[in-house]
């Protein structure tokens, strides 16, 4: 098993005729993801390397039965594209687009909620259930099928983590980059719940960073509800306050959102926190007695 995506995932790519959309469509197909449709307004009838293009997500869903969407639409139009997918009945939207105004994401959140649509991102690298399906821009060659779930706010840092796991022989059930923006869709708690309930996930890696208090909330949640071993890493211990470290969400404000607070919270919840990425596979091996 895995969470969110698997062999049954039928993907529509919003913005497929754009540079990024087209490039990553190929990568996803190459990995085996069922890419069934693309959407670009005004380009219905085109065919991008075997993927039919539609004017609207509704048309794509009707024609292909797509159940998942990935959004490569530029920032000024992305929130509307996400809402369109949701209104068309798509239940999982992965928003790759970086730079969407926060208020736009806030505005579409209730639309997604009432349609029962889950969102990953925006400003995220996507997710992968190794051996089954990849939706996003992840470098597939570093992943390996297995039993560790991974949740991360970061992109390349995720790859670093996964690489450590894979090179140490530890495979992954599903790896999710949740995105670096302040307001995002699925967060630690929802994903921890899914992993806790996924019978093929035996341990969880949580890769956090400075800003906000999502890690503190995750720690409290783990203490109460997660019985599987969790190990964590927090990026940004050396970041100065008041500066946005690349991610719009990675901002320490007035002494809140610091790495040390987060590490303290995790340790209080019985979560081992790695000092460096290389510790992660060691901690996992110990936890799973491998």
């Amino acid at each position: 098993m895995s969470i969110l995506i698997n062999k049954d995932t039928k993907l529509v790519i919003q913005g497929i005729t754009g540079r990024d959309g087209g490039f990553h469509a190929e990568k996803m197909k190459a990995y085996g993801t069922k890419v069934v449709a693309g959407v670009t307004p005004g380009k219905e009838g085109q065919n991008i390397n075997g993927v039919p293009v539609f004017n609207t997500v509704a048309n794509a869903v009707k024609a292909t039965g797509a159940n998942t969407s990935v959004v490569f639409v530029p920032p000024g139009y992305a929130a509307d594209a996400i809402a369109e997918a949701s209104e068309a009945g798509i239940k999982l939207v992965i928003a790759i687009t970086e730079g969407i105004p926060t208020i736009d994401v806030i505005r579409i959140t209730p639309i997604l909620e009432r349609n029962g649509t889950k969102m990953i991102g925006p400003n995220c690298p996507g997710l992968i259930s190794p051996g089954k399906s990849m939706v996003g821009i992840l470098p597939t060659m570093i992943f390996k099928e297995g039993n560790v779930g991974l949740i991360s706010r970061s992109g390349t840092l995720t790859y670093e983590m996964v690489n450590q796991l894979t090179t140490n022989g530890i495979g992954q059930s599903t790896c999710i980059g949740i995105g670096g923006d302040p307001v995002i869709g699925l967060h630690y708690i929802e994903l921890l719940t899914l992993f806790q309930n996924d019978k093929d996930t035996e341990a969880i890696v949580l890769c956090g960073e400075i800003g906000g208090d999502a890690e503190e909330q995750a720690a409290a949640f783990i203490k109460e509800h997660v019985t599987k071993p969790v190990v964590a890493f927090i990026a940004g211990q050396s970041a100065p306050p008041g500066k946005r470290m690349g991610h719009a969400g990675a901002l320490i404000t007035s002494g809140s959102g610091t790495a040390s607070e987060k590490i303290k919270a995790f340790e209080a919840a019985g979560v081992r926190v790695a000092k460096e990425p290389a510790d992660i596979p060691l901690f996992i091996k110990e936890a799973l007695k491998l």
């Binding site: 840092l157 670093e160 690349g246």
Partner: protein, 378 residues
């Protein structure tokens, strides 16, 4: 993006939020003239893009023209947390009956605009949040409905002693919400919102931050930007597709991805070093970006060694290598450079760089961090 109090108040005025008449001054003579224009006791307020200017002496109450001139002399040119005060505003001094805090922010947890109101106005709200969090009312606003007038009234009935000022304050709050959403703010704050001697409710201070992601919708904001030297570098870097923040250390970093960049800095610190910057070259593979990144690192005179940490995903390691070679051909690099390439086309990248004697290679982040710190100690 931050803007000055006087700019925020101009925006407020456009939404009919009551603000004081203000005179913007960049010279002491202008301050003196402003006093004459107002003709009674004034307040001279430093315009700097940093909090705590009151404590730093950047706000002065002046009963006489002499005092105003003195305040102008003291405040103009003053250094507040590393920023030089270049502008002040002069306003009539207000007789304050009562003061409140009102703020709106984009909130991660509720995924909404969060309204914060407190009877503890005029003090740093972060302090109140730490010491008396229960004194701040926090109300998430339904993103579809927006702030309803009855909600605004209800919150002020809770914090205000006298119901007769509630309608005025609620009107201001509804307008502030409008500013927030229409102007794409990440913060819109009035601290303090005051009741003056005539029972008028006024926004005595104003703080507005814009969402950098939404600047494309507001080309007019560019003219309002007032960056210090470091920020100018950051903005310029952003235009080149780089995310660059200058820090105090001596080890320059060049990384792809914000999370990995932070983790790399952390690693340097963990092993006893001091990072000179945060630098994320982003997800694309354009060798030009690597050249620009090297320029920033080389232009920072504090930098004694560089750590390049690339985990190739979309970024291809061979493209990074090509960019580095191009950079070396354009500039003289005399300091040690430790490079770690992993992921997509890492082999090809290493192959391209193998003849470069200046480069120290590493297999892992940990090794790279150790090696770069060693190189500085030498």
């Amino acid at each position: 993006m931050k803007i000055h109090e006087y700019q925020a108040k101009e925006i407020f005025a456009g939404y009919q939020i009551p603000v004081q008449h203000q005179v913007l001054c960049t010279t002491v003579d202008q301050v003196a003239a402003a006093f004459d224009e107002i003709g009674e006791a004034v307040v001279v307020k430093a315009q700097v893009l940093v909090g705590g200017r009151g404590k730093a002496g950047g706000i002065k109450f002046c009963q006489t023209k002499e005092k105003a001139i003195e305040a102008g002399k003291n405040i103009l040119g003053m250094d507040i947390k590393g920023l030089t005060v270049e502008k002040v505003i002069v306003c009539k001094a207000v007789d304050i009956k009562d003061e409140f805090y009102v703020g709106l922010i984009n909130d991660r947890n509720t995924k909404s605009v969060l309204l914060m109101v407190s009877a503890e106005g005029g003090v740093e709200i972060e302090e109140v949040a730490k010491t008396n969090p229960e004194k701040i009312l926090k109300i998430p606003i339904d993103p579809l409905v927006g702030l309803q007038p009855h909600q605004a009234r209800s919150v002020f009935f809770e914090v205000m002693q006298n119901g007769k000022h509630v309608q005025q304050a609620a009107d201001i709050l509804v307008k502030l919400y409008k500013v927030f959403v229409e102007q794409d703010c990440t913060l819109a704050e009035i601290n303090p919102l005051v009741i003056d001697a005539d029972d008028k409710v006024i926004a005595l201070d104003a703080k507005v931050n814009f969402d950098d992601n939404a600047l494309f919708r507001h080309p007019e904001y560019e003219a309002m930007a007032d960056y210090d030297e470091d920020e100018k570098l950051e903005v310029e870097a952003k235009e080149k597709g780089l995310s660059y923040i200058k820090l105090d250390g001596n080890i320059g970093c060049m990384v792809n991805g914000a999370g990995l960049a932070m983790a790399t800095m952390d690693m340097i610190k963990l092993y006893g070093g001091n990072p000179a910057n945060f630098l994320d070259i982003g997800g694309s593979s354009n060798p030009k970006k690597v050249v620009h990144a090297m320029e920033y690192l080389m232009n920072d005179k504090k930098v004694e060694a560089v750590l390049i940490n690339i985990f190739g995903g979309i970024t291809r390691c061979d493209d990074v290598a090509r960019g580095l070679l191009e950079a070396f051909s354009q500039m003289t690099v005399t300091i040690p450079i430790v490079i770690r390439l992993s992921g997509t086309n890492a082999e090809e990248g290493r192959e391209l760089l193998k003849n470069n004697k200046q480069l120290i290679t590493a297999q892992s982040m940990g090794e790279a961090a150790r090696k770069v710190i060693e190189s500085v100690k030498k």
